[in-house]
Symmetry: C2
Subunit: 415 residues, 2 copies
């Protein structure tokens, strides 16, 4: 097994080289990776089969086995994702700002890579390819620490990608999978301040909490989404139903799915029974307060833990509120600053909600499911940030960059 520290130092050294390459060279590497994934599909599938066999032997659940499984179609999908990055604008070297000081100093703020990204993730091997490709596109090295259960798949994918880098004359160490999958290796990576510039955890709430608690390297916290929809007094019924159904049922397991519905009491009197009946037909379990249970005999009682819960399942907490203010107070208390939505025909209430609610995305008359790098048109996504420092919401290419100031003088000294 390769030594973790040596691996990290190699990625750091390669990242310095990578960050100075032209966009053409970095894009050529992406093209070579996409081709190599297709060409070496059989090797990757064979490695994945070994991981799957172990998973079955260890009693891994069907849903986890499905997340772990690669197929020809899934590999082609990864390759296509890599190819799509090629066409996206190069963020590096972009002049963000330029100004001249009274003493004649010309200062230019230009976009540069972050350096080395430490990616800590669970289960799905496609994350290995998706995030490595984004790192290469943005001139960053990447240290990939996936699950033990996907190690052979991840190593096979990394080997293919490293071979592709070699084939176009680029340093293969720009990306590396950490072979040490002991729990302790995560703790080591996230405290390697001299090698790693940012850590991105992607996975369950436990993993993310552990990384945030332990890391000394700056972290981009992703993921937890206790998202709300507030149905205001004037919400159009058909729009409300379509959005709530979409936000709750289209893909309940993801962070931008809605977990709590807040309903204005006037709207509730007119429409709530119908809306909840519709949700029941779609297999959604309702957890409601007393007013909700009065119109929906199937609803289970909702308590404190329901308001705070990210179900990630076809379950929905529902609460009746008497005003926009009460809805916003509930969101301020229980929300995770991911995505919050108001459905209303009242422009002033929409304005107040969008202004006052503190979250990465605040939506008017749109599903919470849109908070996503692809839906936002970024063409790529490393995750969804729920912190306020550096980047908020979908992490695309620009969010994987920093900047530096170039200062042009002709002998200036400070007075």
């Amino acid at each position: 097994m390769k030594d973790l520290r040596e691996t990290a130092l190699a990625v750091k050294a390669a990242s310095a080289e990578l960050g100075l390459l032209s966009a053409e060279k970095r894009n050529a590497a992406l093209g070579a990776i996409a081709d190599a994934l297709i060409a070496h599909e059989a090797d990757v599938l064979a490695a994945n089969e070994l991981d799957l066999a172990d998973g079955r032997a260890n009693g891994m659940s069907e849903s986890l086995l499905d997340r772990l499984a690669l197929t020809g179609a899934r590999i082609e999908g990864m390759a296509e994702g890599v190819r799509q990055l090629i066409a996206l604008p190069d963020p590096l070297g972009e002049v963000i700002e330029e100004f001249t000081r009274p003493n004649g100093l010309r200062i230019r703020k230009v976009r540069v890579p972050l350096g080395v990204i430490g990616m800590i993730y669970e289960a799905r091997p496609n994350v290995t390819v998706d995030t490595a490709a984004i790192a290469l596109k943005t001139g960053n090295g990447i240290l990939l620490r996936g699950s033990a259960s996907a190690l052979r798949s991840n190593l096979a994918l990394a080997n293919v990608m490293r071979g592709a880098l070699r084939s176009v004359g680029l340093p293969e160490d720009a990306l590396a999978v950490v072979e040490d999958t002991a729990h302790e290796s995560v703790d080591r990576i996230i405290c390697m301040n001299d090698c790693v510039d940012v850590v991105i955890p992607r996975g369950g709430a436990g993993l993310i909490r552990r990384v945030v608690q332990t890391a000394t390297v700056p972290v981009l916290e992703t993921g937890v989404g206790n998202c709300h929809i507030y149905l205001d007094e004037s919400a159009d019924y058909d729009m409300a139903e379509a959005i709530v159904v979409n936000a709750k049922t289209q893909r309940p397991s993801v962070c931008n799915a809605t977990e709590t519905l807040l309903v204005h009491s006037v709207w509730a009197t007119a429409h709530l029974a119908k809306l909840l009946a519709k949700l029941h037909t779609l297999g959604v379990t309702i957890h409601g307060d007393a007013q909700v249970r009065a119109v929906d005999k199937l609803a289970l009682p909702a308590g404190e833990e329901d308001w705070a819960n990210e179900y990630l399942a076809p379950e929905l907490a529902v609460k009746v509120v008497d005003s926009l203010e009460e809805a916003m107070q509930h969101i301020a208390r229980y929300g995770t600053k991911h995505t919050e939505a108001i459905i209303t025909e009242d422009a002033e209430n929409a304005r107040i909600f969008l202004r006052c609610v503190d979250a990465a995305a605040v939506n008017h008359n749109a599903s919470t499911r849109f908070t996503d790098g692809f839906e936002f048109g970024f063409g790529a996504e490393m995750g969804i940030s729920t912190q306020k420092l550096h980047a908020r919401g979908p992490l695309g290419l620009r969010e994987m960059t920093s900047y530096k100031y170039l200062v042009y003088g002709n002998g200036q000294v400070r007075q």
Copy 2:
């Protein structure tokens, strides 16, 4: 003594209100604070006198006593600094970007406050006023944890500022000095993820290291500057001398002062003896490699620890190198990514240096001393960031903000 947790929760509650105030109201608060500092000068000086008396009794050094001491002139300087913020453009609400997706969703990225800033700092009471005023200007609450030795001064300043906030009808809890100056209170603040959005440590390397190592709240790391000047083969002598003298001697105790001089061997043969003689007349101690000591009999031998040392004093490490590449390798190894400068008449060498050197500021023919919020024209400064995440270099008003996405729909759901 007020409970730390209660204090933090009060700042958090006030920050939510503050972030929604108009620029006019926030600027009115700054004006009231500037007036109140002048009006209550006697109270502040009396409190400061108690801190100074204790400092003298405890054998505090003259230089620390000087940093702690307030005078009428210093208070007027603080008030003037607060007033200058009023005229600066308001960063909040700025539309950073706006775009429409093919499905008709209109997405607007707008600048918002970070929330609550946790400021951990040492000694100088002016930091209390400077950083609180920047926080108010940018709609952020601020929790101020200064030194025990300056507690009465800091509390007196905070009381004056809180009174000024009350006088204009704003929540006084937007800023609060932490009364608990036990070491443990720092550890508590920097792990209050539910109350504090970012921690900024300002002080010595030990304080900064401790915060980075312990914090679970995102940190903006500031300060350590092992800055280099590289004198290239073609450097103009007079310009080189003026810049080196300025960067080393104008204020040796600050992070953007130069600590190591790298000199091309050809230039060294022609000019180094003269330059070092000049530095000796200014009282600078030289630590040189063998080639330096060959032309400067006063130079002390330089070793590994000199290349890594941030002297913060009139001492300079000097090394002769054979090429631009060797200079850049030295900087990559020992630099702290703060500020690096090349002095050269060769445009191509300048281009390579500015492109390849990884630091917050990379200068051509200008002193390293310019890396500063005021010198960059930001009109304010919370510190100098040496990390790559969020902000790099001088932290001005915009660097104290985050953003959110406002998503405007008319019923869109995700396919």
